[in-house]
Symmetry: C2
Subunit: 431 residues, 2 copies
Amino acid sequence: MPIFLWHRSGIWVQLNTTTTPAKEENRMSVEIKFQKLATDNAPGQEVRQKSSDLDARFIGEPLTGRPVDFSHGDVDAHAPAPASFEAFSAGVSKGGTQAYTEYRGDREIREAVGTRLAAFTGAPVNADDGLIITSGTQGALFLAVAATVTRGDKIAIVQPDYFANRKLAEFFEAEIIPVQMAYETTTDHAGLDLGQLEDAFRAGARAFLFSNPNNPVGAIYSADEISQIATLAGRYDATVIVDQLYSRLCYDGADYTHLRAEDMDPENIVTIMGPSKTESLSGYRLGVAFGSPTIIARMEQLQAIVSLRAAGYCQAVLRTWFNEPDGWMADRVAQHQGIRDDLLTVLRGIPGCSTRSTQAGSYIFPKLPELTLTPMDFVKALRLQAGVIVTPGTEFSPYSARSVRLNFSQDHSAAVAAMKRMAALIERYRA
Amino acid sequence: MPIFLWHRSGIWVQLNTTTTPAKEENRMSVEIKFQKLATDNAPGQEVRQKSSDLDARFIGEPLTGRPVDFSHGDVDAHAPAPASFEAFSAGVSKGGTQAYTEYRGDREIREAVGTRLAAFTGAPVNADDGLIITSGTQGALFLAVAATVTRGDKIAIVQPDYFANRKLAEFFEAEIIPVQMAYETTTDHAGLDLGQLEDAFRAGARAFLFSNPNNPVGAIYSADEISQIATLAGRYDATVIVDQLYSRLCYDGADYTHLRAEDMDPENIVTIMGPSKTESLSGYRLGVAFGSPTIIARMEQLQAIVSLRAAGYCQAVLRTWFNEPDGWMADRVAQHQGIRDDLLTVLRGIPGCSTRSTQAGSYIFPKLPELTLTPMDFVKALRLQAGVIVTPGTEFSPYSARSVRLNFSQDHSAAVAAMKRMAALIERYRA
């Protein structure tokens, strides 16, 4: 019979009685660290869930239609930005100097990208000391958090926000101070609880990590919110890491305020972006972090042991970034706005379902009505009975169990049809 | 006047008196963690050394000749394995399913590579649960160490061995127990001190991390050494991480023994390989780790927050791996053996210089005679006076200050000429 021990970190761990106690203590210690990183419900990992049997609680026949995986964007429906492959190919032709760049990335590419990012964000970028090319924005987030907080440090994180933010803090054993965002009751600003943010700084939070536009909600922080974040960070000498991954994909001509253009100590801010989403270049795994030279230098030191560098040939693709043909980005925004509008129409036809309109990015985060299935079972039913993959709301906040996140960068008509199947399934399981 | 504090970790840290004490304590804590990761002398990072002025202690005129960067291989001289670019291109054409793979990599590619790695290593590979595709072998090492040891755990590491091994252990705050390798006095085996290894396990080392062939020495562990490592790991229930990056590039028909084919608990071993070196595919940043399903699962969980996955399109290049045209690998081995032989001839003509002959891989690690310059100044003189970049021996072991590492995967005649310039500079500065 297996023996379970209650570990002080607050989870049950099975004791392996066939090994030595010392070895076992180690196994448990590492196991606990990794249990917090569980990826079973992470986007795209559904394939690793071993059991795909229909649950006995599921009722009715499957809903047919083209399957849609809303856990990430469909780069077949929205093709990679023009000339990206040609830029890669030119990088391969360039040979050794493109394969073996500095750990922080090729200098010439850093300079080209730095100039464009300065123009986009409205503040200078030092390509020599203040910019690093990373393995996707995920790579930039990992390195930036590692370079800012260490064991026992406090870090403020928004609820809801990108699920990896929490996992990163936990991996580095930082203490998370949650800050709520009242996104459901606001429309012209994100709804960040600035009082809670100040409380977090007052309680000793050294860093504040947030995404703007917010993932999963698609809310843009207002100019006033950004200004107050800058003021608070300055008052408490805190570092701010802002993930602006989706800041190019703004709808309805929305205003977007770049934190780094505010009056802040440049050593206390790191901005993260990348071409994986709006530009559909995820297959190249590219991201950038720019800002504080001290933090960027640490990120490079860590990247040297994490992966050496972003794939050298892939770095060459950044030559096309912020350098797309005239009108290309406007078209891409218009296409996504059209999909968003049609999905909102379906969602608003579901009684008891509330959805904030996405201001930027390609996520939508509806809160579903009460159902007879648990939220996790409903997500499973969606996948197995309707061919619709979504990401459970609890990945983003403990208070978002009734919400699901959908990335609507999909084939337009397939996405609308899939959303209608979701609506039908909601009716089937309505409490 | 700056104030320096002696931190308990044993280094001086400058106190920043313009900030708050709490903020300052955090800054110091993170700074100390990152000082151990310093990359100033890491291969390829010389460009970030701000001062390139000739040192006043340098004497004589510059030695002219084509510069050679021995810190890494020259993929222009030894071209990427055939069809690699075409495989990448096919991956891009495949679209979304290649861009967004499971975090552990595309299943079909894992299966193809797993079959070939099983044949190469002589033991089964479970492509479903026992193999992960990573961002280079560096990525595999980072994830494997993180998945095996945590703060305060003991890990045995060879001296000398790949410099990142030590940095990885330090980053995860594991305690390193060094195990000496008497490579200078052996020829038919690596010279690992198996008594020290057993002492390390007896002292509680949970893991043993080593490269075979050894980086920087190029020694192959004998069948007997590998067998004894397996026996000791079994006796003490320790995990072994073996970096076999260069195991395809063996000279003179040398025997190579794969640890994973020994009688060992399959849960206690992870093998790491990749196509960055022998196959010159470093620009694609690809590696694999295979073995223990428990450790591979943790590595995937961590990769999800480190970089999500190895670049999806790049993964497609693995289709060409262990799948090269007939004779291609034999040619590559013969070319490198020829360069090795000519470099050894030059080195053996230098009085007081001792060099073990490389059995596998493309590193050579000569121990230089006594010089009037410090080892670090001589490395600098080599770069600035002779156009020859080498990696200082202290990166690999505190006992290797008089050695330098050279990656001889270079243009043949340029490498020989550069080695002759090094020989001339040794005479110039001979003590």
